[in-house]
């Protein structure tokens, strides 16, 4: 075996001894279901049940042994170069080395079962094009997990290893009643619920049970989506710490994420139709190094704030992008002629830019306002379809990394779109030269009180 082992001087760490038990317990529902299924088969006699139980016990035994061996073989430590090393595997030994200088983020996640046992997972994400750039260390006692997270962050920033957890002050907690109201007032949900009420009323009036099946769908789907989002975003807490914005949320599965300002590539404000009269908004971010399926998951599908009044949303956005106030932009409205190419949203279409970022807004029922900082602009595109061409219009699109936010300014006069694109490319190039936000931990935070 040629895999490197830690030198004797370095203290090797292990995950918590309870890990194999939690891992096996995770499979328990499936095993019980299996038992249920098997005992239903055959003549249902005692022999079958006994056989199934025996099989189940054997599976559980093998599973526990494997889990135990896996736990025994899993060690992690910080090597002399300061990188995080993880060795694991029973038959196939696996050694991973996470270059902490390429660290993108560390998260502490508590799935339901682990949470009941007081345990947590630590996910260490490094920059990498492949989907396999996340190292999972499970399970640690919650306090150990938080300590490990702080240590990884501190080491990646080049601070001493024993740095205390960065202090944080809570900026905002999403009130539960606001969360519930906002989830119910989303267009599709509200629509389906209204249909449910109609169906119930009709079947009461005409005393026909025909519509009742329909309720399962019209009532069930919105209830399901409301509940999943509610449990996901329950007790959504935003706190500011020197290493970025901390997000903590979840009813059953608690998650904690840190969004370093340097990783934010774009920010978007979404206002569903029914939220507008209350002045509520949802805030999305695109983050570097977390594109694609797993990455979206990593910061709650790119949600920075599930719902908040505009002033709060702007305050939190400005904590991530200091020096630019999203509410203070002068918006350049789209050309009048865009009513023919974008009949529903043309009144809303506009673009804006200042020293810091480029923004675009649009949308008919749901209004979207998105910004990309100049320093994060990857490329700029001008597009023109046949209809726009006949109207002398064009769209300008500012690309940032993959994510929920896209910045498209439709309905610009064609020549102006081109000038804007040229100017934006130049601003992107200028901003790149004096951008320091990627070294977010190096300078002492100046604006903190």
């Amino acid at each position: 075996m040629t895999l490197s082992e830690p030198t004797a001087a370095i203290q090797v760490r292990r995950t918590h001894p309870i890990t194999p038990i939690v891992q096996v317990a995770r499979a328990a529902p499936a095993l019980v279901l299996f038992l249920f299924f098997v005992s239903g088969q055959g003549d249902g006699g005692g022999a079958t049940l006994l056989l199934a139980l025996g099989g189940l016990l054997a599976i559980a035994l093998i599973g526990s042994t494997v889990a135990y061996l896996q736990w025994q073989r899993k060690i992690f430590w910080f090597d002399t170069d300061g990188d995080l090393r993880v060795n694991s595997g029973i038959l196939t030994r696996n050694e991973r080395r996470v270059q902490l200088s390429r660290l993108q983020g560390v998260e502490v996640v508590q799935p339901l079962l682990a949470r009941l046992a007081g345990m947590a997972q630590v996910k260490v994400e490094s920059a990498g094009s492949s989907g396999d750039s996340t190292v999972l260390i499970e399970y640690l006692a919650l306090s150990d997990a938080e300590a490990l997270r702080a240590e990884v962050l501190a080491r990646s920033a080049g601070v001493t290893a024993d740095a205390p957890t960065a202090p944080e002050d809570v900026l905002h907690v999403v009130p539960t009643n606001l969360l519930v109201k906002s989830l119910i007032l989303r267009g599709a949900t509200a629509g389906l619920l209204a249909i449910t009420v109609l169906v119930v009323t009709f079947s009461l009036i005409f005393e026909g049970p025909g519509g009742l099946i329909l309720i399962l769908f019209t009532g069930g789907v919105p209830l399901f989506t409301v509940f999943t989002e509610f449990s996901r975003f329950f007790d959504f807490t935003v706190a500011r710490s020197p290493d970025g914005l901390r997000l903590r949320y979840g009813l059953l599965q608690r998650q904690a994420h840190t969004v370093p300002p340097g990783r934010v590539q774009a920010i978007g404000f979404v206002e569903p139709f029914l939220w507008r009269r209350f002045g509520w908004v949802r805030v999305h971010v695109d983050l570097a190094g977390s594109s694609g399926g797993d990455g979206q998951e990593s910061v709650g599908r790119g949600v920075l704030l599930p719902v908040a009044p505009w002033p709060v949303a702007l305050q939190i956005a400005s904590a991530l992008m200091p020096g630019s106030d999203a509410s203070q932009h002068t918006w350049f409205r789209a050309d009048e002629k865009s009513r023919y190419s974008n009949p529903f949203q043309w009144r809303q279409l506009a673009v804006a830019y200042d020293e810091q970022m480029f923004g675009a807004r649009g949308g008919w029922l749901t209004h979207r306002t998105s910004f990309v900082p100049h320093a994060r602009t990857q490329s700029v595109e001008v597009t023109q379809g046949p209809l726009q061409r006949s109207l002398g219009l064009a769209s300008i699109e500012v690309h940032s990394v993959e994510g929920p936010v896209s910045v498209i300014g439709a309905g610009r006069p064609a020549s102006q779109a081109r000038q804007m694109a040229d100017a934006q490319a130049a601003r992107a190039e200028d901003a790149r030269r004096d951008d320091r936000s990627t070294r977010w931990m190096a300078p002492p935070p100046t604006e903190r009180t």
């Binding site: 023109q384 046949p386 990394v401 993959e402």
Partner: protein, 166 residues
Amino acid sequence: MTSVDEAFAPPGEAWSRVSPKLVIARRLFLALVLIPLVILLAWLALDDTVPLWVFALVAVVSLGLFAWAWWLIGRRVRSWGYAERSDDLLVTCGILNRRLVIVPYGRMQLVDLTAGPIDRFFGITTVQLHTAAAATDATIPGLTPEVAAALRDRLAARGEQRSAGL
């Protein structure tokens, strides 16, 4: 020059155009894909008891489509253009849906050179620029290998100067 064309005007004198050999390569590809397909369909149609007029109609329509695609390839290839400015690269293409993408050199993550079998036979290469944004679609097909390699080296050198990162 109308204001419509101003949006896609070259930054300098004119766009650098791609090799006309790309037209031949793409037409050959079209023929290689469509002709066997048409023959297969014809064979299937004759096998059955399909009325002759249906067969004729299909033949006319597919011939028409073939001619249209043939003509479109020529126009589409001619619409392709690129220009290197001091700080960024511009790529434009399209007839119905026109687009122009501007990529600052500092944002390039990598430059790809690819050539499929047909491309190699005609001696043409595709250059593709990648940034951290998946939406960036800056592809220049139909360059001769020398031009493509020289372009790649120039782009890489300029990107290097402006140091990458996100």
